[in-house]
């Protein structure tokens, strides 16, 4: 496969009164042609900085970037015609209609104005094209932003939180649109916090934390690499679930009690569960590994899972603290 987007060793440093902060710290990413690639990371992890740097809005301190095989920012003016992008929530002039907004962009990009109604139709705004943008809801503005990115018929579409503000129907439509665009040969880079959506739409993902890539690959590979380590345990009927859970907790297990089962979250060695319980004449009727989803992987890799009684700060990712080792080893 051909790489449509390549980033290696990207570094961006901000100097302020409080010292130096590395927004990007040697970040790497590769997006293959024709894929829908998810770009995930907690708030302040460097996602938007990466996209802005890629699009020439921010100058990096070092690193290499290439879009469609051409080095950027050097060749950005030439490849910009092939890249449609929305970065964060773009604002439009409220007093202008959607049609005027897009036709001005079409003029600026030397694109036929006839495309305006095609893309408005594509995002479901055709019938509202002549209304002022200030009358639009957040979701409609988001649709307009996506329409503006599609106006160029780009080969690479970069969308930062495109589902932001969309209703469930809109999210589903956006999902279908992404798939259709990908099927038509467009490469889509999708930054989002809606991890369930990413898992549904994307072929591959990159997860960033504290300005560094923490994992990447196809969604199935990433999930396989990061098993949850949790197991669901059922006991013989009539056995006191609470007592069994208490027994395991006393041995250091993280136990979530359900109605007819419990889940051990840090069971890196499930045999310990059966051994401990059997020693007290409690016998397990079911011991099933719980499959990890993208959210689990994300929380584990970025160390941003909520901890009871603690208020996590934005820059507090604690990648090293979470997920290492496990009970039972």
């Amino acid at each position: 496969m051909t790489a449509v987007l390549e980033i290696s060793g990207l570094r961006k440093t901000y100097r302020g009164r409080k010292g130096v902060r590395n927004a990007l710290d040697g970040f790497d990413m590769v997006v293959e042609a024709g894929q829908v690639h998810g770009f995930l990371g907690p708030n302040g992890s460097g996602k938007t900085t990466t996209l802005r740097t890629l699009l020439g809005l921010i100058k990096p301190n070092e690193g290499r970037m290439a879009i469609l095989g051409r080095e950027v920012p050097k060749h950005l003016p030439e490849v910009a015609r092939e890249v449609g992008a929305i970065v964060e929530s773009p604002q439009f002039f409220g007093n202008q209609t959607a049609e005027t907004t897009l036709s001005l962009l079409a003029d600026a990009g030397d694109i036929n104005r006839n495309r305006v109604y095609s893309v408005l139709d594509l995002v479901g705004l055709r019938d509202r094209a002549k209304e002022r943008v200030k009358t639009y809801s957040l979701g409609m503005k988001q649709r307009l932003a996506v329409a503006s990115a599609l106006l160029k018929e780009p080969k690479l579409l970069i969308l930062d939180e495109p589902a932001n503000g969309l209703d469930p129907g809109g999210i589903r439509e956006m999902r279908t649109l992404m798939r259709d665009l990908s099927a038509a040969g467009m490469t889509v880079l999708l930054s989002s916090h809606i991890l369930g959506e990413i898992q549904l739409i994307c072929d591959s993902v990159t997860i960033i934390s504290a300005g560094k890539r923490v994992t990447s690959g196809s969604v199935s590979e990433v999930l396989a690499r990061h098993k949850s380590g949790a197991v669901r345990v059922r006991l013989e009927p009539g056995v006191d679930l609470g007592g069994a859970a208490q027994l395991l907790r006393a041995a250091g297990a993280q136990v979530d009690l359900g109605a007819d089962h419990f889940t051990v979250g840090n069971a890196s060695n499930p045999a310990q569960i059966t051994k401990l319980l059997a020693e007290r004449q409690i016998y397990v009727s079911e011991l099933t590994p719980v499959a990890a989803d993208l959210e689990d992987v994300f929380l584990e890799l970025t160390g941003t899972a909520p901890v009871e009684g603690q208020n996590r700060q934005v820059d507090q990712t604690a990648m090293s603290a979470a997920g290492k080792g496990g009970w039972g080893q």
Partner: protein
């Protein structure tokens, strides 16, 4: 060319552009209408009425003087002791010209009207220029545009070019209508005067300087708002210049008895640009004595060339700073 066309469309479609152009045109219309209403041609009837008013005033003054004389004879001490010294009005003290209604003389009065035109359009140009780029920065429109055209200097230069061409078109068209309107006011409500080719040439040059002032105001508003990435940045600087440099500096220079203190104040330089020269005096210095004019304070003349040089320098400085910040700053 497509970017230039888009920016021209964007400029004309902006609500604030339209509002300020309309407001400026309304203000100009009010000035022209007011002049037309006040000005009255000096027809034989108007002259006769003025003469009658002058005669009536003369007669009234004679009556007052006679009453004063009677009171003086009763109590001369109240009038300085000598009633012969009382002023006796004459017919010459009440010329009919003093009782004529004002008349607009196109030949003599039009240069002042060009200055009014320049001032109002320059104000509108500053606001429109600042908002044209300031709002784009504030709302993220500039970032959106740079995603389409990742050539920062080209985008900013094209925006500036669209603004300046738009302002030139507006000024030239308005000035043409302004000239015709005041010629008509002179013709039908006042006097036109002797319009030689030299007079028209002088009007043309004043008009060109007015255009220059409008373009300078527009470019300054644009540049300052671009440096500050907000329309309010330009307004803040303008307000700061007025408060600090005009009122504050003016008072300080006056107290410090600085030589030619007025020469440090902006209105004198704008006046010099529009009226070709502006004379400022040093009232604190010993006077220059001449046999013909007596004692006169030393004078310094600000020429239009000096004022033009200063304006060009300031505009160049602001625009270079705007381009430099556009090129070097991150768009976060």
């Amino acid at each position: 060319m497509s970017l230039y066309r888009a920016e021209t469309r964007r400029l004309t479609k902006r609500r604030l552009t339209r509002i300020f152009v309309v407001l400026a045109l309304l203000a100009l219309t009010a000035v022209a209408a007011g002049t037309a209403l006040i000005s009255k041609q000096h027809t034989p009837q108007v002259l006769a009425a003025a003469q009658a008013d002058a005669d009536a005033a003369y007669q009234e003054q004679l009556r007052y003087t006679a009453e004063d004389k009677k009171r003086c004879e009763v109590d001369p001490a109240q009038y300085g002791g000598n009633c012969d010294n009382l002023w006796q009005p004459t017919q010459q003290d009440f010329p009919a010209e003093s009782y004529l209604p004002p008349i607009f003389d196109f030949r003599d009065g039009f240069p002042d009207m060009v200055v009014v035109l320049a001032a109002l359009l320059a104000l509108a140009a500053f606001v429109v220029g600042a908002s044209f780029v300031g709002v784009e920065w504030r709302t993220g429109g500039m970032m959106n545009l740079l995603l389409w055209r990742p050539q920062r200097l080209r985008v900013l230069s094209t925006k500036l070019a669209a603004l300046l061409v738009g302002l030139t078109t507006l000024t030239v068209l308005t000035a043409a209508v302004w000239t015709v309107a005041f010629w008509a006011i002179g013709k039908y409500r006042g006097e036109v005067g002797r319009l030689t080719s030299g007079v028209w040439q002088s009007f043309g040059l004043t008009g060109l300087r007015a255009l220059g002032l409008v373009l300078v105001a527009g470019a300054l508003g644009f540049g300052l708002a671009s440096i500050g990435r907000h329309t309010a940045a330009a307004f803040g600087v303008a307000l700061g210049v007025v408060v600090v440099f005009q009122f504050g500096l003016g008072a300080v220079l006056e107290m410090a008895k600085v030589k030619f203190a007025q020469a440090y104040l902006l209105p004198y330089w704008i006046g010099a640009w529009m009226y070709k020269k502006q004379e400022v005096f040093d009232y604190n210095a010993p006077c220059d004595f001449s046999a013909t004019n007596g004692c006169e304070p030393p004078m310094f003349t600000i020429t239009w060339q000096m004022a033009g040089g200063l304006m060009a320098g300031v505009v160049a400085l602001v625009l270079i700073a705007a381009m430099w910040t556009m090129r070097s700053r991150d768009l976060t």
